[in-house]
Symmetry: C2
Subunit: 420 residues, 2 copies
């Protein structure tokens, strides 16, 4: 809900764009069209964007020269007339670096201009046991290794996007309760740490660093790379130690007045429930977060307990096997999730709700519990389990990839600005 200036009714007819900015706009248009098509031809691009074949050819030449597009054989399929040369987004050169710092792991990836996840390192790290500067330094070390692997593949990120489990605004983590962070200047600290570890290419500018909420970029990953089909408006939850959320409306993130929208993890499902790390009581993540789930299933309660990803896998295995305590824990979390989601669905009327993080692995027991509660409580009566509006997130769409893809989108939006 970022406020834009009040434009009222007064929109003068736009001034004519000058020739250079039209060309810049059209270069982006052609590059984005190829990016979205995956593989295409000059003729198809021309038909798609409404420019002449000659204009498209000229734009394509410029993109080939700059190494943003590549040619790859001929196509004879489905097109009238002579065969066209296949165009693709380059798999070298411009890339995006995504760095997800979560409570118990760091995941870093490099995505190329086609959107493909090309290098990935995920390290389990208990980030609650260190200060923010140390955690950002750890993440920078992983990032430097990934940058090295990427450079060996001739991939050169245009920028870094951090994905953080907290309220992020203008480069600062305002609050990340599960990390214990308050007012941490994440962009600055990470850039300083990375600068000391990764020299960059000679003459290349320093990598710009920006931060976002991890649920936001996970939702964008789902939108861009997931299996949502025509769905463009959805609620996205990521179950981790905390429960993150993001709202996508017509293909755009709803960010809110301060950039803090989507915090479904702190919806109160019981006003008198247990104290949450955020200071409130009975928040959803006290019932449906990873720790709560493992605790309820007896998998994180002291000596010998199994925690983290292994704990979730163990929980899923037991639930799949029908073990009573595991089933009860997952189903109870599902009902609480459904209760909170029913409020969100009544409020937002999304096309779909996507569950990511640890939830996809638990869907056989979790899904029906969530769907049942939604069917009971969504006031329109339009929520039925059969409608398939509750979906697990795609395995290929996570926060790190979404963060890296945001950088790619910036290159696609203005290819001439890329100087990596």
């Amino acid at each position: 809900m970022k406020t834009t200036p009040r434009t009222g009714g007064a929109h003068p007819v736009e001034p004519k764009a000058d020739k250079a900015s039209v060309r810049r706009h059209n270069l982006s248009l052609v590059l984005r069209t190829v990016h979205e098509a995956g593989e295409t031809t000059r003729a198809s691009v021309a038909a798609r964007v409404g420019l002449t074949r000659a204009a498209v050819s000229s734009l394509v030449e410029q993109l080939l020269e700059r190494g943003l597009l590549v040619e790859s054989g001929k196509t004879f399929s489905g097109q009238a007339g002579r065969p066209g040369t296949v165009l693709k987004a380059a798999d070298t050169g411009p890339a995006g670096l995504g760095v997800e710092i979560n409570v118990d792991y760091v995941s870093v990836c490099v995505v190329d201009l086609a959107g493909t996840d090309r290098v990935r390192v995920t390290e389990p790290l208990d980030n609650r046991t260190a200060g923010a500067a140390e955690v950002l330094e750890r993440a920078a070390r992983v990032a430097a290794r990934v940058l090295g692997s990427a450079a060996a593949r001739d991939l050169h990120p245009a920028g870094v996007r951090l994905a953080l489990p907290g309220l992020v605004s203008a480069g600062t983590v305002h609050q990340a309760p599960n990390l214990g962070w308050n007012r941490v200047e994440a962009d600055r600290l990470f850039a300083a740490a990375l600068g000391g570890l990764w020299p960059g290419r000679p003459g290349a500018p320093e990598l710009p660093v920006a931060s976002d909420n991890e649920a936001n970029v996970a939702a964008l990953a789902e939108l861009w790379f997931g299996g949502l089909g025509e769905v463009r408006s959805f609620l996205h939850l990521t179950g981790e130690i905390g429960v993150g959320g993001a709202i996508v409306v017509n293909g755009q993130l709803l960010r809110g007045a301060h950039g803090f929208a989507g915090e479904i993890g702190h919806l109160a499902v019981d006003g008198n429930g247990p104290l949450c790390r955020c200071g409130s009581h009975g928040c959803l993540e006290q019932y449906a977060g990873q720790s709560a789930l493992l605790r309820a299933a007896g998998l994180e309660d002291g000596a010998g307990a199994t925690a983290g990803a292994a704990g979730v896998e163990e929980l899923a295995r037991r639930a799949d096997a029908g073990e009573a305590r595991a089933v009860a824990a997952v189903e109870e979390a599902g009902r609480r999730l459904g209760l909170a989601l029913s409020g969100a669905v009544n409020l937002l009327d999304p096309e779909a709700v996507v569950l990511g993080g640890i939830y996809p692995r638990l869907m056989p027991r979790l899904g029906p519990a969530v769907d049942g509660e939604l069917a009971r409580r969504v006031v329109s009566g339009l929520w039925t389990p059969a409608a398939g509006r509750l979906r697990p997130a795609s395995a290929s769409a996570d926060a790190a990839r979404g963060a890296a893809a945001v950088v790619i989108r910036e290159v696609l939006a203005d290819p001439l600005a890329y100087t990596g």
Copy 2:
């Protein structure tokens, strides 16, 4: 969250608009600019919209001829050069008719092109005791009287907008739990009833009728006529028998995939609470709706009870006087409201929350209870009572006026289409 076609990156440079459509666009631009300014001059309009003085003068002439603008004296104030003739939106001719049908009243108004509420009739009617067709017929009778008064003032609505307390989509009330309506074709029934009662002007086309959710148009009224200042993103609640809600983001209603967004009245504040008319349990309106409030205060519990507007007035009087039961009822409703709102605020991060309907009258006791709960539960920590983000709705901004103003907006958007 209405889905729009996936446009991807492919936006060809727009084709040149033809001359007639540019003129149509600019007529609207000038008319909207005068509408928003209230009173202005040709020179100010030209400066504001970026067209030449000559072009604006020609457009203004056409709007004067069609009776959409009027001239009114000279201004000498603040402008360099010779005095200008004052321009205003016409206070005769094009108008909008708004018809709010709520559970225990019908309110009908005519708004002129300046946005002023010019004719208003509100009738207490217990609309739960009659079928939908009969209720719509009642409302049409009130509307016909209002149309008569408007015609006597030379005001001729371009259309009718119904405001209904339920889920409305494409002219049909999908569900209005507090009216007991299901799948009622409100547009068609109201148009038929009005057609038999109001002949219209000879030769004029039949009045087009469209429906909307009452909370949606109340929120638009607040946006357009309320005291929100620069706030363009807010949550709007209307406390009536039910509790309606609407979400405005950057000056636009967030409508949802089916048009059903904003249903905060059915957010569960206690999953095991009392059965709601929607079929769910523990919905907000079971704690903070008008009936719940009056019942808790002992004002609607059998013989001798005071109901409706008089009951609310009595409750407010007793709460203001510090009578314990009334104070407790209002404060408890406020806490429940705050609990539900904290979820919505965590989810949407609006700039403000506006409380309308019966709530403004109860604000002295209600406001602090709501604010307190929000301050405790909004995860960003940015909700403080001192920030003034909780606001009573303006008395001049109600659903009927908002509905009528939606019709006016349509005239402003394309003044040449008005043939009333």
